[in-house]
Each structure stands twice: as C-alpha cells, then as structure tokens.
Amino acid sequence: MNTVISPRQDPTARPFLELRDLKIHFPTDDGVVKSVDGLSFSLERGKTLGIVGESGSGKSVSSLGILGIYHRRNANVSGEIWLDGQELVSSSPETVRGLRGKRMAMIFQDPLSAMHPYYTVGAQIIEAYRVHHKVSKKVARKHAIDLLARVGIPQPDKRVDDYPHQFSGGMRQRAMIAMALSCDPELLIADEPTTALDVTVQAQILDLMRDLQQEFNSALIIITHDLGVTAELADDVLVMYGGKCIEYGAATEIFENPEHPYTWGLLGSMPRLDQPVTERLLPIKGTPPSLINIPSGCAFHPRCAFEGRTAGASDTLVPELQLTGTSGHRVRCHMPAQVRQQIWRDEIKPTLEGTGQSVASMSELPSASDEQSEEVA
C-alpha cells in the first residue's frame, strides 16, 4: 500500500500523527458495519486538518478510534495510528487511556449533553486535570479558573461553581474547550465544534480555537460537514464518503481545484451570500450509503452524475486513492485526471459561481487559512 501523507509533510521525517490504513469495523447481526475502511493521513503540530463528509460517513468513528474509545469486544480495529512515534492500535487500553485527555483531547458536538448534568463545570475540569496530574484539589481548582478565564468566560472564579445548565450554549462550548485543554494536549480533535451554536457564537468559537491552537502549537483535527468552517481553519482537507477517504489535499487545492464529483456536490450544496437569491442550491441527489451495504465498486456511483464516463468500472472496481497533479492532491475516482479537471473547469465551476460572477468568492475562502498557516509556520 502506498503511504498517504499530508502534501505539506516532509517524507523523510516522521509525522507527529499518522494513520495508516485504519479500519474500524463493527460486526452486527445484520452484517459488518464498515464505519472506517482504510483511512490514512498525517498531521504535524501546529497544523489543522479538516475532515469533511455527510452524517454517517465515518468521521466521528475515526476520531473516537484515534482516542481509543471503542469496545474491544464490539469493534474490529486494524491498521496503525502513530502518535509521536508511539503506535496506538496495538497498545494496551491502559496505555491509551493514559494518553487520552493528556496528549490527545477531544471537543464534542453538543456541549449540553456532553457535560455531566450533575457536576459543576469546575468539578468536571478539575477531574480532567487531576486524573493525569497528582495535584491537590486547590491547585486544580486554580488551574480550572485560569482555563475558564483563558477561553473567555467572565467571572471565572464564580462561574467555576455553576452547573452546565446554568451556562449559555456558547459558554458551554467554551467550557468544553477549557476541559479539553486542561492538560495541554498536543493533539486536539474537535467533532462538529460549532454545529449546535448560534451563527454569531460560531465565529467566536472558531476564533478562539484558532488562537488557542497557535498558543499551544497543537495539531488540530476539525470534523465537520460545514465547508465554511473548514475553509476558515484548515490547512489540509480530507473528504470522507462511505468510510473511505475520497479526496485529500491542501485546503487551497481542494477549494480551488476539487476533482471528486462528491466534493463538487458538497461545494454546490453550500449556501452562498454572494450569489443572487434566485440561484438554487445544488443538492447531491440520493442519500448517504448504509455502512453495512456499501455499494459495490465506487461507493459514490449510485449518486454520481458522471458515472457513465467511467467505462463501466464504477460498480465493479473500487477506485484507488491516487495522486493527481504535483501538489500532493489525492482523489479516489475512476475518471482520468484530465477528464475530471475538464469537467470542473467547464461544467461545475461556472454553475457554482454563476455566469459572469467573479471567482473572487471561491478564492477568498481558502485565503484565510493560507494566512493562518503562514503565521503558524
């Protein structure tokens, strides 16, 4: 198997985080659920990877898999996860537990249900800190107050004793971030961090996460179905479909020269303020596949508008994730690279941007992450 690494990765050096052919399968009475089916990527400290896909594409399961949160009885996990030179899949559950929360932490989607309703916010942060550090409750409490202040919660010395239900949605997400940061993790995974929030609060939280990532120089994985969030934060983008990576590359590449029909679909179904309101969104037809019965061949072929251009290979052969161009951009598609690039240029891009519209909007989105990556580097 060819190694799949980030386009910005020095191939001779060991990446901070690397997944090699990670598979997470759940045997059930109805068949094997292939939630993650051969996922590979790499990520350096200080960089951000955006994992994009519809619900049920395997995004969240892969992140929980990295943290080792699965039942060894229910899940079959294979492949390799390397975190700073340490392989996690073959490590003992106790070893991975020791890393969890300390070197790698997670921010969850809905902070109301993700925090325990019976314990104060402070108690939950203190607990996260004390499980990995042998300090007194007093020291840990001081640390919790500092963290709450750091994530922008007013009067942290009072709010530390509040319960999650006494916080607003945005404040809860801030507290959740404070909890994840309690042990200065080097890898931070944010699973739909802004989905449950108001739009105005979303921007604040994204700003906060960007600031914190720069401050702590941690590797950040953002899992989202919101391409706007990805454009805002990510250096690299990985698009998942049916448990597999179908497109992977630098964010600028993915937004400017996407080559997979599914990525085109995602871009087309994103509402855009710079388009006239009469323009219809372009939803992807059909529904995501069941992970028990993944379509034969290319998992996307039943929904693909260009299925006919694959010379009959679409439902018989599983396409490989292959390099395209010279920038480390990879695509899993049967169509030849020239054909894909031509379709994007001639058919898709003009529709997305509306006839006569400038291309400014398209290039504006990734430019934000460009600036950021320069700052970090």
Binding site: I69, R100, K102, S113, H116, P117, Y118, V131, H165, M179
Partner: protein, 337 residues
C-alpha cells in the same frame, strides 16, 4: 431551595388531609348511604345482643347523631389533642394521638400501632438494604455485560423473582432452611433488636430475603435499563475522552445519573412497606402492621382499620416528601425549577 422544600411540605400536609377525609367518609359516610343508622354504628361497640335503648345511649355518647362534618372534626381533633370518652360509668381520657379504641379488645388503637411498628420497621429496613444493594449491583453488572451469559441468567432470575409470590418462596425457605437444615429461626419468632441484635437478625433473615427477592428483581431490571441508557449518553463518552479509569466512568458518571429514578421508587417502596408487608408478615407469622391490618379487616374493627390506614398513608406521604427533597439534592437541575 427553601421555597421548594416549603412547597413540598405543604403539599404533603394537604395530601394527608385528603387521605383522612377519604378514610373517614369510607367508614362513616358510605355506610349511611347504605342504610346504616347511628344505632347500628353503636351496635358495633356493644355487640348484637345490646337492646335498642343501650344502642341509642351509646350512639349519643359517641356522637353518632352529630352531623358528619362535626364527627370528622372530632375525629381529627382527637388525633391532634386527644379526647375524653364519657361512658356513663366515668370519664376516660384518650391522649393524643387518639385513634379511638378497638371494638373487640378495647385497647387504644395508637398503642397497638406503636407496638407493631418495630416489627414492620425491622423487616422493612433489612429487606430494603438487601434489595437495593443486590438489585442495583446485579443491574449494573448486567448492563455492562449486556447479552452475556451472566446478563441472561440474571434477567431470567429477575423474572422468576418478580413472579414468585412471597407465600411460596417464604414457605419454601422456611421448609428447607429452618425445618430441614435447621439453619434459621422457625416462623413466628421475633426478638427485639434491643434485647439481642444477633437473635433479631437470626429471626428476620428469611423474611428479609423473601421480601428482598421480590423487589431486588424489579430493581435489577430497572437499574439495567437505566444504566444501558446512561452509558450511551454523550457525557459518558466525554468522561472516557478525559482518560478517566473505566471504574470511575461507570460509578461516578454512569451510576450516579442512573440512580436518580431508582431513589424515587425506593422511597415509595419503603414508605409503602412501613405501612405493613402483608404477605411476608403473614407467611412468617410476624406480628407487624400488615398482620395487624389483615386481622382488623377480617374482624371489621373499624377504628383499627382507620388507624392503620392513616398510619400507612403517613409513611407513604413522608417517604414521598423525602424523595422529593433528595431529588433536589441529587439533581442540581431540579433546584431551579
């Protein structure tokens, strides 16, 4: 928090008031609709052989000619401040709380109730600890090993435990453990805790197990369902993501949340049992409140029935009140609403 407690306490008092009215109407209102007269009420005290004149005299003295509301008032007043009975031969004072005298034995009902309470109390406390600890432990293990042999065996056992009535299991236990193997005390024995704690436990162990089995089964199923729900919650995933030990995840995060509804039914069950565990007490010949109630009903001893009804209602209402307050302590979200 304080207003919450005050509101609940007022609610509890109102509930007792409603229970007392209903009880009173059942025994003094309904019979009138069915054709009972003050004289027939008096006849219950005097026996069927008494002549009409004696009946009238007695009905007068006991206030059966008064309007219903006045009778109710006198009944309640007697409970709170006591009352004097004038039997013609002399005035007898019945101190508060006065539930009147038994038709048959002429004992004050209150004294009988207080006599019986230690038996029922001992039975309830021992059994409730057994079933709470046993039921919750089995339920948690079943939930964590869902689908395993242990889970299936425990849940089948739970079904059997719920289905088998105490007069069956109790008699089986008595036969084997007491009469065949001579391991425990025979039925009908009860030793006061203050006299000899060892003998007390020895005489109660079989009733405890019999009563506990019945409820432990229900609690095991309840805990299992609650734990399965809770362990699928997002906050459990968060607890794991923090790197907490699985033991802490299960107890501090999972069980804590799953226990709240169990506390509720536990409070109600204990309150209910304090009013008398009729089947278990009868099976083991324990002279507790349940046995007392059955006896009073069989003999149609109305003052005793009313007394034991109010007594049992009091425990249920108080248990309810305690549960409500515990709820506010356990679940911080209740405090605000």
């Amino acid at each position: 928090m304080v207003t919450f407690f005050i509101r609940r306490t007022i609610g509890a008092v109102l509930m007792l008031f409603v229970v007392s009215i209903s009880t009173f109407l059942i025994f003094f209102g309904l019979p009138r609709l069915a054709g009972a007269t003050p004289e027939t009420f008096a006849a219950r005290y005097l026996g069927r052989t008494a002549d009409a004149h004696a009946q009238q005299l007695f009905a007068e003295k006991l206030g059966f000619y008064d309007p219903l509301w006045l009778q109710y008032w006198n009944w309640i007043k007697a409970i709170f401040v006591g009352t004097d009975y004038d039997y013609g031969t002399g005035i007898e004072h019945c101190a508060a709380p006065c539930f009147g005298y038994s038709f048959r034995t002429n004992h004050p009902v209150w004294d009988d109730l207080v006599d019986r309470l230690p038996v029922t109390f001992s039975l309830t406390v021992g059994a409730s600890i057994l079933w709470l600890v046993g039921g919750v432990a089995v339920g948690v293990l079943s939930a964590l090993r869902k689908g395993s042999f242990f889970d299936r065996a425990a849940m089948t056992g739970a079904l059997a435990g719920v289905s088998l009535p105490p007069y069956f299991t109790g008699l089986m236990f008595l036969y084997f453990f007491s009469y065949q193997f001579d391991l425990t005390a025979p039925g009908g024995t009860y030793v006061n805790f203050t006299d000899d704690p060892g003998e007390w436990a020895f005489s109660l162990i079989l009733p405890w197990i019999t009563l506990a089995m019945l409820n432990a089964a229900a609690y095991a199923r309840f805990t299992r369902a609650g734990m399965l729900d809770t362990m699928g919650e997002d906050f459990i995933r968060t607890a794991r993501a923090k790197g907490l030990h699985e033991r802490v995840v299960v107890t501090k995060h999972g069980l804590r949340a799953a226990l709240t509804p169990i506390i509720t039914i536990f409070g109600l069950d204990v309150g209910l049992l304090l009013g008398g565990a009729i089947l278990t007490e009868s099976t083991f010949g324990l002279k507790g409140l349940g046995y007392f109630a059955i006896d009073a009903i069989n003999k149609q001893d109305f003052p005793q029935i009313m007394g034991v009804t109010m007594f049992a209602a009091f425990f249920v209402v108080v248990a309810n009140l305690i549960v409500d307050m515990l709820y506010a302590v356990v679940d911080p979200r209740v405090r605000l609403s």
